[in-house]
């Protein structure tokens, strides 16, 4: 066991995979000596050299397309974005090319790319560096989306992504890079896609969270317990595919559901989860489903804390469904 931050976990996990598999190359606009805007890949250029650490021009769509060609040829590129917002310019390559190549070619070509995307608010990044892109990505057929909230999850999901044959976007919550600290086992564990993790067991209310929304969810669940409400807190971790069985099982047991996420509310991933529960657990519900998400606004610079869901709002949601 070693104790480390989420940022260190990504760094250590990626470094080990690059040492294990020489097909893995690191690609990005800012992966040079500085190690990226957050320093995740500090030292990689020095240690792996320019053949394995490839700096691209400041053209997000361009880098996104280039890694497709690399993966088609047989490499396993890891594309580090400066911020998840860079998915915007590269969206066509991700949604129409990367995720479709296997389908289009009848399995003649795969596209094993890992896109690492620092995402979400919490660091005062303003509207253009705080994107939570999960809802835009999770509905793309053939694209896996994961959102770790802890160091071991980051390592386990990273390994799965780099050893699998499909494209994966890993949403790395900027706000948790240094604040999320945990123990990572020494063994070569992996975390399968589509498998959530129960952070707290309870029979009163189901609470779903992932990525940067997890700390507030944990705090709210703790506070709820002090008030006599036992929360079943599920960190989904994998957003595409989703752990639908775990969600349905939990809701059928508790009859009450709160979903919290830091992306905006309308057409957010919470809507998909609510629909899932409506389809498969409606008659078990004792209260309307509650979503505690960001409002339908961009994430503002000054009023970021007002905008993003926090412990108090999640707790209020828990109380609302518990006391319905």
């Amino acid at each position: 066991m070693s104790t480390m931050t989420l940022l260190e976990a990504v760094r250590v996990g990626l470094r080990a995979e690059m040492e294990r598999d020489d097909r893995i190359v690191l690609v990005g606009e800012d992966v040079g000596a500085s190690g990226g805007p957050f320093g995740v890949v500090e030292g990689f250029l020095e240690d792996f050299g320019e053949d394995r650490v490839i700096r691209t021009p400041l053209a997000d769509g361009g880098a996104m397309g280039a890694v497709i060609g690399m993966a088609t040829y047989g490499l396993r590129p890891v594309l580090e974005l400066a911020f998840a917002d860079a998915l915007g310019p590269g969206f066509d390559q991700v949604a129409s090319e990367m995720a479709r190549l296997r389908y289009r070619s009848g399995g003649q070509y795969g596209c094993p790319v890992l896109i690492r995307a620092p995402c979400g608010g919490g660091l005062g990044g303003g509207p253009d560096q705080s994107l939570e892109p999960e809802a835009r990505l999770a509905g793309i057929p053939g694209l896996a989306v994961v959102a770790p909230s802890s160091p071991p999850d980051a390592v386990g999901l990273l390994r799965t992504a780099l050893r699998g044959d499909d494209p994966v976007v890993m949403l790395e919550p900027q706000s948790l890079y240094r604040s999320s600290v945990g123990e990572v086992a020494e063994d070569d564990f992996t975390i399968p896609l589509g498998e959530g993790r129960t952070l707290r067991q309870g029979d009163d209310v189901t609470l779903l969270a992932w990525g940067g929304a997890v700390p507030a969810a944990v705090e709210a669940a703790d506070a709820a317990a002090e008030r006599g409400m036992e929360v079943d807190l599920l960190d989904l971790r994998s957003l595409a595919p989703l752990d639908t069985e775990a969600v349905v099982e939990s809701v059928r047991r508790t009859g009450r559901l709160v979903i919290t996420h830091r992306g905006s509310t309308t057409c957010g991933l919470g809507a998909e989860l609510a629909a899932l529960v409506a389809e498969r657990a409606l008659l078990w519900l004792e209260a309307p489903v509650v979503r505690v998400a960001a409002p339908d606004t961009p994430v503002p610079y000054a009023l970021e804390e007002t905008c993003l869901p926090d412990r108090d709002r999640v707790l209020e949601g828990i109380e609302r469904v518990a006391n319905f």
Binding site: V25, D51, R52, I54, T56, P57, A59, G61, G62, M64, G65, A66, V67, I68, G69, M70, A71, T72, Y73, G74, L75, P77, D92, Q93, S96, E97, R100, L101, R102, Y103, R104, S105, G106, G107, Q108, Y109, G110, P141, G142, G164, D165, D166, L193, G194, P241, L242, T244, E245
Partner: protein, 369 residues
């Protein structure tokens, strides 16, 4: 500034031999034969489209010199990222006529189970990487592939095919810039469909003057010029000399007096050289038509892909949610059909006979994509 595109073909044998590639009689006749086959494929496919038997078919008639000349210059082990009009290269890279028409019909024998629009086949191993319907996105894939090739010490090259319209996209400039910066072994082949004399279009070789790549502009109706330019660019790329942009200027208006049929241009030369006769042409033409006819008949008679195949190849391992959707669909009492466009007849197997007028008729042209 770009001058006139380079031309090799002429009706003077000595001129061609002095400036053209060194090809044997047999090689030259094979080139012509391949171009003829490509032409007949386009004509047949367009007729099938007009008859409602297959969906949208973006014609490549008139571009045989570029298609065949460029593919002829490739070697085994090279990678090809085609545009959606380059299916002639599919045949030259080892794809069969049967596979091409199975793909056009979207039937059960198609390697991608009828998922792609007609004329979008694919071959594994880099021989013909499944083209997408987007404009120019493959230019970046080719650049990335070239970078990967260089990293792995692969002595081959990559050919990226696209139209002049794609050269307006940012992907073009980023892809060329990226390949140049890493000296990736890529040949960028731009097919510029000229609107004729006086066209306001600036040559792509001029519009890309800021990039550190070699640039050359050739007559896209001249198979020998295209072959020579692509072969030289390919050799330079494979030897580590960096990428080249080859702009092949095509006159799509051949036949109306302003442009010339690329087949006819090669034929004139072959005849002057004494290796073409009407009898030989008739024999080859008949053979091409027979082969196409057989492939069409078989493709027409092959049923649609199994319904469940629509779920295959989305993922390497399908997640449980997708498996559930597949199982639900399998429970439906529904027969598989093939739908060819908005007004197409459903059901490939019962497709009625369509007159093959052998002409080019009116085709929908999407210029310079």
């Amino acid at each position: 500034m770009a001058g006139e595109p380079l031309t090799v073909l002429s009706d003077d044998v000595a001129t061609v031999e002095s400036r053209g590639p060194d090809l044997s009689d047999e090689g030259l006749r094979s080139l012509y034969d391949a171009m003829l086959l490509c032409r007949r494929v386009e004509e047949r496919a367009e007729a099938l489209h007009r008859g409602g038997e297959i969906g949208f078919w973006v014609s490549a008639a008139g571009s045989e010199a570029t298609t065949v000349g460029a593919a002829w210059a490739l070697e085994d082990g090279d990678w090809l990222f085609p545009s959606y009009r380059d299916r002639g290269m599919f045949l030259l890279r080892g794809g069969s006529l049967q596979a091409l028409f199975d793909q056009a019909f979207g039937n059960a024998a198609d390697a991608s189970r009828g998922r792609q629009l007609p004329g979008h086949p694919s071959l594994g191993g880099g021989r013909y990487v499944a083209p997408s319907g987007a404009v120019g996105s493959q230019i970046l894939h080719a650049a990335g592939c070239g970078i990967a090739m260089r990293l792995r010490g692969d002595p081959h090259a990559v050919l990226a095919c696209f139209g002049a319209g794609a050269a307006d996209q940012g992907d073009f400039h980023t892809g060329v810039g990226l390949a140049a910066a890493r000296r990736a072994p890529v040949v960028f082949l731009c097919q510029s469909r000229s609107q004729g004399p006086g066209s306001p279009d600036r040559p792509v070789v001029e519009r890309s003057a800021g990039h550190e790549v070699d640039r050359t502009r050739v007559d896209g109706g001249d198979v020998l010029a295209v072959y020579q330019a692509v072969a030289e660019a390919r050799a330079q790329a494979a030897a580590g000399g960096g990428p080249t942009l080859v702009e092949a200027v095509l006159s799509m208006l051949w036949g109306d007096g302003r442009g010339q049929d690329p087949l006819e241009r090669l034929r004139v030369y072959l005849e002057e050289r004494g290796i073409w006769t009407p009898a030989w042409e008739d024999e080859r033409d008949g053979r091409a038509r027979e082969r196409i006819h057989a492939a069409v008949e078989q493709a027409r008679g092959t049923g649609p892909p199994p319904p469940g195949s629509l779920f295959d190849d989305v993922w390497s391992v399908p997640p449980s949610g997708l498996r559930r959707q597949r199982d639900r669909l399998a429970g439906e009492d529904r027969e598989a059909t093939i739908r060819h466009g908005a007004d197409g007849e459903a059901g490939a197997a019962d497709g009625g006979a369509v007159a093959d007028d052998g002409g080019t008729g009116t085709v929908v042209e999407e210029e310079n994509r």
